[in-house]
Amino acid sequence: MSFREKSAWIALIAYGVVFGGYFYTLWQGWGDRYAQGLSIGLMAGAVVMLVIIAAALTIVAALFNPKAANAPADERERTIDLKAERMASYTLSIAVVCLIGALLAGWNGILVANLLLASLVISELVKALAQIAYFRAGA
């Protein structure tokens, strides 16, 4: 497995675990607290956790193969990255358009902000999954 495929797995795990936990906690406490905007601390904590987990896993992966970690992406890896990025951007664009509609329809602003965050997370998951699929398929 190449270093960049490992990076995609790391992104998938880090985003899945951290924001899975974040949205589960938000869901559990939505009626009591978070609908009024008290999720900022939770959100900041999730971002910090994401950075820590992703950095730690990337460092471990780099320690096993420092040469590959320091090498620039080759043409196939760049192509895979572009294809995955395109799929992620389609996902995010569709979600943003839908959420603009939700705002205009009078949805709770905190809810829309969290749905926007969920869209960002989903687009990152789509990117990581697409990268893994392309790496597994060959291109």
């Binding site: 190449s2 495929e5 090498a71 080759d74 043409e75 890896e77 060959g138 291109a139």
Partner: protein
């Protein structure tokens, strides 16, 4: 992929050159050489010329157009 190649045979004829050694000479990852060798990825013209150069043969002795 409608592009076939002779990389496996050429590696064999060049002293069992490893995929890692070829990757090093071409400037790509070993996984990319594997993908090219298995006809799963069509390399850029530059990478194709570098592969041919690594074996010291013309491009057409490494790759051929093989539409299904």
């Amino acid at each position: 992929m409608p592009i076939e190649n002779e990389i496996r045979r050429l590696r064999f004829e060049h002293g069992e050159m490893t995929q890692a050694q070829l990757a090093e000479r071409v400037g790509v990852t070993r996984q990319t050489i594997i993908a090219i060798e298995q006809n799963k990825y069509a390399p850029s013209l530059e990478a194709a010329f570098k592969i041919a150069d690594a074996f010291g043969v013309p491009l057409e002795q490494v790759f051929r157009w093989a539409p299904k």
